[in-house]
């Protein structure tokens, strides 16, 4: 498309947009914590339960009910704060954010306002070999809302619906909201930085064990703020906030789309409206949310039903000491330890095989064997079955046991695959499969001698050829022995045996 065409479509060509304007990003990520119970009540947080079966007087905001803070949720919030290099407040409070909405039973959200639990951190994001430091403004605790189903509208969306049905199972699930400072200076890389940041955050949260970070189930949600300023201008432009960005790919697309959309508006002298926008996964575009007639005034004030938090330093330090190795540091260490190329490492990452390889190595296999099994044979098996690698019914320990038998001799690679097939088919542990299927390289020398003698006797002419030094004829005898032993013999060993039987030097 020409510039004129794209502008006419309301978008500016991306490269041109970036030459004219500097994008400024702000990312707000909500993560649902993986606690057993909700933030302020003892209801379970299981995803996918029957509607309104995980509720109580507290999360339904019945008259008289009062909140009580989940200790584990606070611990997870501190964990997140520490992993993001934040300062942990020595004293902080919950606050009420007042606004009416049917999916929020109290009509206020118990959140944190000017006293968040974690402030001033950063997350280093690697992109195309360079490191971008994303500064974190704050991470604070709050609670999730219920879920509405809009009935009667054509699309199931809010517009045009006749009424709504509410399920409060999710109401009160603990959330930590992580807010970046404005991310400047990324220029053309802005959409990739946004994606890389959310990816790194997802990996970090996963390694911390504080959330299942399932974007598809809403346990990790990203709102992307984007504004443009004329290149070189230090002042920030008017921003939009795009919600409903439900995958890593969408984060990148939504930012990219907003850059081209806002650039087109600015180029024609149109002001950007500060608004909430909605990302459409199918078209990759954003559209304005329905704006409210009046600007919200949340009337924050300290939550009087809860007392302040003053995390003891010993507690915070104990949490800090228990933090796992950061995922990217662990990865770099593994790549070095395993001697993998960048490409090999990237393939392992892409197939989510790193943890499996690591566990297989921990169980005694060599990194090369472990990498090779998970990325080739098991990768194919996962493909065939249409499941993720870690959903295959074989454990790293089982694979390591199979690999050990190859290294020690009793199995060759071909038979080892049959053993793995048996494990995958649910036939039991590798030893059970070997026994049941009668697998294993023939190690009984007597039987092998007999088989060799038999083959030589059956083909005397070939035996003579070998005796006369025509070594290429050995293959025929080896083939016959392998056939007779149904492939369970070690071919190299058979060859050796044929030659020694005939008294020929190999």
């Amino acid at each position: 498309m020409t510039t004129a065409q794209t502008l006419a479509a309301g978008l500016m060509d991306y490269d041109e947009a970036i030459q004219t304007y500097d994008p400024v990003l702000g990312l707000e990520v909500h993560v649902e914590l993986g606690t057993v119970t909700k933030m302020f009540c003892g209801c379970p947080t299981d995803f996918g339960a029957e509607p309104n079966t995980q509720i109580c007087p507290i999360c339904l905001a019945l008259p008289g009910a009062m909140p009580a803070v989940n200790r584990t949720a606070v611990e997870y919030a501190i964990r997140i704060g520490l992993a993001l290099n934040c300062e942990i407040a020595s004293w902080c409070r919950f606050a009420r954010k007042n606004y009416f909405y049917p999916d929020m039973p109290k009509n206020f959200q118990t959140s944190q306002y000017d006293e968040p639990i974690a402030t001033n951190g950063y997350l280093d994001v690697k992109i195309d070999g360079q490191t971008v430091r994303v500064d974190i403004e704050r991470a604070h605790m709050e609670e999730d809302t219920g879920k509405s189903t809009h009935v009667g509208g054509a699309t199931g969306r809010i517009h045009g619906a006749e009424y709504s049905l509410l399920d409060y199972n999710r109401a009160g699930v603990p959330l930590v909201e992580i807010v970046t400072k404005p991310i400047v200076g990324t220029k053309a890389l802005a959409p990739q930085v946004a994606r890389a940041y959310v990816t790194a955050l997802r990996d970090l949260l996963s390694s911390l064990g504080v959330s299942d970070v399932r974007m598809d189930q809403g346990s990790l949600r990203c709102d992307a703020n984007v504004s443009l300023t004329p290149a070189g201008n230090p002042l920030f432009g008017t921003r939009t906030e795009t919600k409903n960005v439900n995958s890593l790919r969408s984060v990148e697309r939504a930012v990219r789309y907003e850059i081209t959309r806002q650039a087109a508006l600015l180029a024609t002298g149109t002001r950007i409206v500060q608004e909430t926008r909605h990302f459409d996964e199918t078209t990759g575009t954003t559209s304005p949310g329905r704006s409210k007639e009046t600007a919200e005034d949340y009337r924050y004030f300290p939550e009087p039903d809860l007392v302040p938090l003053a995390p003891e330093r010993e507690w915070v330090e104990a949490i800090r000491a228990s933090l796992p190795e950061l995922p990217w540091i662990r990865r770099a260490r593994m790549q070095a330890d395993w001697g993998l190329t960048d490409l090999q490492m990237r393939d392992l990452l892409a197939s989510d095989a790193v943890d499996l390889v690591a566990a297989t190595v921990d169980a005694g296999a060599s990194p090369a064997e472990a990498t090779s099994w998970w990325s080739s044979y098991l990768g194919q098996q996962a493909n065939v079955r249409g499941v993720a690698l870690n959903e295959l019914p074989i454990t790293p320990a089982q694979l390591a046991a199979v690999i050990a038998k190859v290294v020690d001799g009793p199995l060759n690679t071909k038979i080892a695959r049959q053993v793995v097939d048996g494990v995958l088919a649910g036939e039991g542990e590798p030893d059970e499969v070997i026994a049941a299927r009668g697998l294993a390289v023939m190690s009984d020398d007597g039987a092998l001698h007999a088989a060799v003698d038999e083959a030589l006797a059956a083909q005397p002419a070939v035996a003579d050829k070998i005796r006369s030094g025509k070594l290429q004829a050995v293959g025929a005898i080896v083939g016959a022995v392998m056939k007779a032993t149904r492939g369970q013999a070690d071919a190299a060993k058979v060859r050796q045996l044929v030659l020694s039987t005939l008294g020929v030097e190999g």
């Binding site: 008289g64 009062m66 709504s164 509410l166 004030f301």
Partner: protein, 507 residues
Amino acid sequence: MTAELTRLGASALAEAIASGQSSAEEVTRAHLDRIEAVDEAVHAFLHVSTESALDQARAVDRARALGDAPVSRLAGVPLALKDIVVQAGVPATAGSKILEGWIPPYDATVTRRLVEAGVVILGKTNLDEFAMGSSTENSAYGPTRNPWDLSRIPGGSGGGSAAALAAFEAPLAIGTDTGGSIRQPAAVTGTVGTKPTYGGVSRYGVIALASSLDQVGPCARTVLDTALLHEVIAGHDPLDSTSIPQPVPLVVDAVRRGQADGVAGMRIGVVSQLRGKGYQAGVLESFDAAVATLAAAGADIVEVDCPHFEYALAAYYLILPSECSSNLARFDAMRYGLRVGDDGTASAEEVMSRTRGAGFGAEVKRRIILGTYALSAGYYDAYYGSAQKVRTLIKQDFEKAFTAADVLVSPASPVTAFAIGEKVNDPLAMYLNDLATIPGSLAGIPAMSVPSGIASDTGLPVGLQIMGPALGEERIYRVAAAFESAYVAAHHRSVPDAAPELEVGVR
């Protein structure tokens, strides 16, 4: 016979039941009969739980028949529960139309403790809507009348509970006190009521008005009965994060000490700021007589100065509306309670507004708007923020006063019961009824009202407020018991015993 049972206090009834002199069922029936006879005139109750009360009483009798020891010192004694405390399966309205017909599916912690103690819950008592008021005229279900004079108010917001005691419909009652809603009704009905230290009694299951001020408390006709009920309901509750994780003060022992040893050697402070302008002559006269009685009993009377009390009412009427505007947001027609204007085309937002417009009374709406204003961006610091600082100044005044005195005293209400309708159109005049009780509410200290006598100018009861430092319940009960004993010794009967008979035919 049954009429006599209703004249007895809770401790006497508990003894009669424990000794087998009366059955709990008999006691309960006597009170249900009394309610039947007088409540049409008094209107203390919004709901009478006849069946569940009798079931509870029979359970106490059965346990006794099996030889079990009483589950508490109040087993089998009837009680009137303010209709802002939820009881599973029993309607709860908070005096508001917006909750009409709502049946809570759970028990408040206080309710659970009462039931576990074998206390028989007779029913739910009337109150100003969401406890906002000082006369019980703000109830959506009509006013309660003062048993001393049926044309007068019983105080508020706990007018129903106080009137039930004064009308001998129940020997025990539960109140809630945010700015005086236990103490002021106790004062104007000649009964006893205590607001414990903030956090002393669980608020879980108590429909919130202002979370940082609300306290549940015991009410009765004698100091001992009040103390017995206090020990049943008080104590730490993990469901209320603001509840104090400490042992319950031993207020019953303190009452016995007060009855036996009096107040000799105690320093009793009279707060200069809680008398004078705004106080009725008959109230001050009764108060001065009470102070003289305490002095005669050997107490050192000292004058204390609390200069910031002047600002207490102003701070209170910023903090309370702010918190209540948020607490009452949940009444939105979506999950429970009234729904108005759902015509199939109106939006949820419109239905919320219509329902809240129709379901809340004038005082509730006034305070919600005021609170919404006080919390608004740009006003928060000047209003809510400043009010919280005034609260600090008032706390400091109290701390200083309690270095000079063991307890502080004042009239509990500046006036005796006024006529129904007299102040309904003047919110500010109504707010002044809590002039003496609000400082203690803001500071979170324990305070109670005991009858100091009958005002010579109106012939109506007057309340003496006794305030102690945080967790100083034992002191105030001791002084209250000593005063009550001295009063009875001098007048040969207690103030509540002087309440009119209400023209009940002999049954």
